[in-house]
Amino acid sequence: MTWVNSIVHGIFLGGVYALLAAGLSLMFGVMRIINLAHGSLALVGAYAAYVFVEHTGLSAYAAIPPVVLGMFVVGYLLQRTMLERSLRAGVLVPLLTTFGLLVIIGNLLERIFSPDPKSLNPGVLGTTTWQITGTLSISPFEVLELGVAVLVLGVLQLYLTRTRMGRELRATSEDPDTAELVGIDSRAVYARAAAIAVGTAALAGIFFGMRSSFDPSSGPTELIYAFEAVVIGGLGSLWGTLVGGIVLGVAQTIGAQIDPQYFDLAGHLVFLVVLLVRAAIESGAIGSTRGVTA
């Protein structure tokens, strides 16, 4: 039964979407910013891993620690320089500046790496197949993908609920004014959130790059996937993002099952339906509430 196959593979794909979307959801929940350059930053992670692999000859997995750490720093700096100023300037400005960033990143990547698709090698994990039943086969790489996504989300969850910094983040996301008044340095909170967002995005970007090829125009595509996962799962909720990612992944693979060309479209349609249903149920437009729930 190839439908089961599709659903299972869709779930695995959903894991990466969830990982990609987590950062977007986090930044929105805390700062009410939708970082339009989110997908592009994930893509930078993939290209950085590519460069690492080219220069060191090590596997793509070895690239993960340095690239993700580097992108944590990038996210932190991005917040302290551009995004912080954008936040202060008003509601529209972060959209405009992050869109500008998206355009710049795409242009620079195209110049440095050319428009030709690249990919990262998942190694033996990607080529091995495990035959589960007669018609269902999966690869250890996919299991790793989903496992890493769930692990990272779980760690984030613990961070939010059990650590001081996590508490500060949740408080700041609910009421930044009052957070400052009880001694929380909201700028530091935002910077940490941005670091986490960009770092996890880069991690997701690397997994994307191992799963399929990428090129400079992939940034917007990844942004849209992340956004759709977030909306389907509910803005600001981490576990909701996991659900959203999985629903999106399954929708896409089932769509592709019908016709390979329907992959993206199936995801878009599910997104629209969920959007309209939510709009009909919830009062207040989507994108207007703030707060991070674990």
């Binding site: 405009l96 500046t97 500008g100 710049i104």
Partner: protein, 355 residues
């Protein structure tokens, strides 16, 4: 009114609401004269000039429409390319497959784009802020995908509007030029009138404080909806004209988010929320495009300049001039003239990001 005394209140003077002043009246007359003069360009100037000006007019339309959404409606759209593409392909559909006269097909296609903006608007106007932005982008992607499925529309490789070749090259250029000039003038006029009506004032209220506006009876969704449909219509016109200008289109480029990048650049640089700003931004982009459009770093330049303006010069070039010199050329707002004193401009265009 008598003045109230108390703990340091300001004495109140009599005032009169003023919409037109000599400067704006003169400017508007000059504008009409300019449009008439421009209509004679094909007679006196070269074909190259015509083509370039046509491109400029298309940019002006796109900038004005994006500004209508963002500057007056507070709606940052990153998906207006949807309507550019819809109209372009619509023109081909009507003119190529159904043998409608090409320029009529283009007009109808633009109108169709405006009509399609109604259901699209009903969907995306449920979103706010960044969600709205990406939502419009998803819509654009959907249309691009749907078009690419249709082999009769050239699928992914693209299609030419061959019927345009029935005109002589010279005539095609001329008709395209006049269509572009006419569309620009009409769309700007519609926008101008809209802003001068009650809708204009209510849009400003919505932009400043939606909740407060709704509480005094402003029909928020209606205002935004009208803007969205107008922008759909306008971007549709831009799309149809682009088709006429370049004859060949393909989904990847006509539905490209690059158009949004251009629109954002023009409006940020020119002056968001002002009427004159987008026009100035279009001129700036036009010049830059001509000079460095072929260099690889063109979009990096546009993105960087846009970011710089958003952060450091948020009122744009024209907005800064307005603030500094208290000039207003087109009377889309109200000025409060204190009798017996200098005119105080009621700020009609606060920062686009009023919290």
């Amino acid at each position: 009114m008598s003045s109230a005394t108390g703990t340091g209140s300001v004495p109140v003077r009599r005032a009169r609401v003023q919409r037109w002043n000599p400067l704006s009246l003169g400017f508007c007359c000059a504008l009409v004269g300019l449009v008439v003069a421009l209509a004679f360009v094909p007679v006196v100037m070269s074909e190259n000039a015509m083509q370039k000006l046509t491109t400029l007019y298309i940019l002006v339309i796109m900038a004005a429409m994006w500004n209508a959404l963002a500057g007056y409606g507070g709606l940052v759209s990153v998906g207006q390319q949807a309507f550019i593409g819809i109209a372009a392909y619509g023109a081909i559909f009507l003119g190529h497959q159904h043998t409608v006269e090409p320029f009529l097909a283009m007009l109808l296609a633009a109108l169709i784009a405006g009509v399609i903006a109604i259901p699209v608007g009903l969907i995306v106007l449920n979103l706010r802020g960044g969600a709205f932005a990406i939502g419009t982008w998803v819509i654009a992607e959907i249309f691009a995908i749907l078009v690419a499925f249709d082999s009769k529309l050239g699928a992914g490789t693209g299609i030419s509007f061959l019927e345009l070749n029935f005109f002589t090259p010279r005539h095609l250029l001329e008709y395209t030029y006049w269509s572009a000039l006419g569309s620009t003038a009409v769309l700007l006029l519609i926008l101008f009138i809209l802003l001068r009506t009650r809708l204009g004032a209510s849009l400003q209220a919505i932009r400043d404080d939606e909740g407060a506006a709704a509480s005094v009876g402003t029909r928020v969704m209606l205002g935004k909806g009208i803007l969205f449909v107008l922008a759909g219509l306008g971007c549709g016109a831009a799309g149809a004209l682009t088709l006429a200008n370049q004859l060949f289109i393909q989904p990847d480029s006509i539905f490209s988010v690059n158009y949004s990048a251009l629109m954002i650049f023009m409006v940020l640089v020119g002056g968001i929320g002002t009427f004159e700003g987008p026009i100035i931004g279009a001129i700036v982009l036009f010049v830059i495009q001509n000079e460095v459009g072929d260099h690889w770093w063109y979009y990096t330049l546009l993105g960087s300049v846009a970011i710089a303006f958003a952060l450091f010069l948020p009122r744009g070039l024209w907005g800064t001039v307005v603030d500094r010199y208290n000039v207003r050329l087109l009377p889309v707002g109200y000025r409060l003239r204190l009798l017996g004193g200098p005119a105080l401009a009621k700020s009609e265009e606060p920062e686009p990001a009023a919290d």
